[in-house]
Symmetry: C2
Subunit: 123 residues, 2 copies
């Protein structure tokens, strides 16, 4: 089974973390998503951590896990921190394929999303 | 004329700021956008500041400015900091309509964007 792990930074404000959990719930409910399992993890501050999120996916039967970094910019977290954590975690689970999708802000579709938001505001 | 002001947090890493400028350039080039003017501003760390971005829009002839907060979560920056700065700036420009669009992470379209990114990774 294929799992998607939505990875956000994590915040001391529980509402921000809850927004990420809610987004993952939206992904779960969406019929067009090509993943059997969806979980959430946080790089820092909040729980579950990325290694914990990977274990949660494996416990549900995942043989392949794709992390999507819910980050806007290609800073240190995206370029180094998340790959380093995933590399370590992958050593613990050699039978599971773990890969990292491009981070959210890297998407060519971002401009289109912003335009949809702001055009709906235009009067 | 209508102006769009893309507002990001701002980073000490110039590449992250440059990504925001590049995104604004994509918005400018997009034929479907309902705004005559597009500028970028940063809440903190980087320049131009939000008040400077508002002035840049007005100098190009904007009578209406819509800020779009390029933020994922409804933390303090989105809930208080940006509205407080805009409120102060609006006092300096009473003839200009200045409004704030919902922040990026608030969009119902976000789940769809994530699904497009991760489905393209699926194998």
């Amino acid at each position: 089974m294929n799992a998607l792990l939505l990875v956000a930074h994590g915040s001391r404000h529980q509402q921000s973390n809850d927004e990420v959990f809610e987004l993952a719930n939206q992904l779960k409910r969406d019929d067009s998503i090509n993943y059997d399992i969806v979980h959430t993890a946080f790089l820092d501050v909040a729980k579950p951590s990325i290694p914990e999120g990977i274990v949660a996916c494996i416990k549900e039967g995942a043989s392949s896990i794709t992390l999507i970094p819910y980050f806007l910019n290609s800073g240190r977290h995206v370029v180094s921190d998340i790959p380093d954590i995933v590399k370590e975690a992958a050593k613990q689970h050699p039978d599971v394929s773990i890969k990292i999708a491009p981070h959210l802000g890297d998407s060519d579709l971002m401009a289109g999303l912003l335009i949809e938001i702001v055009n709906s505001m235009h009067c």
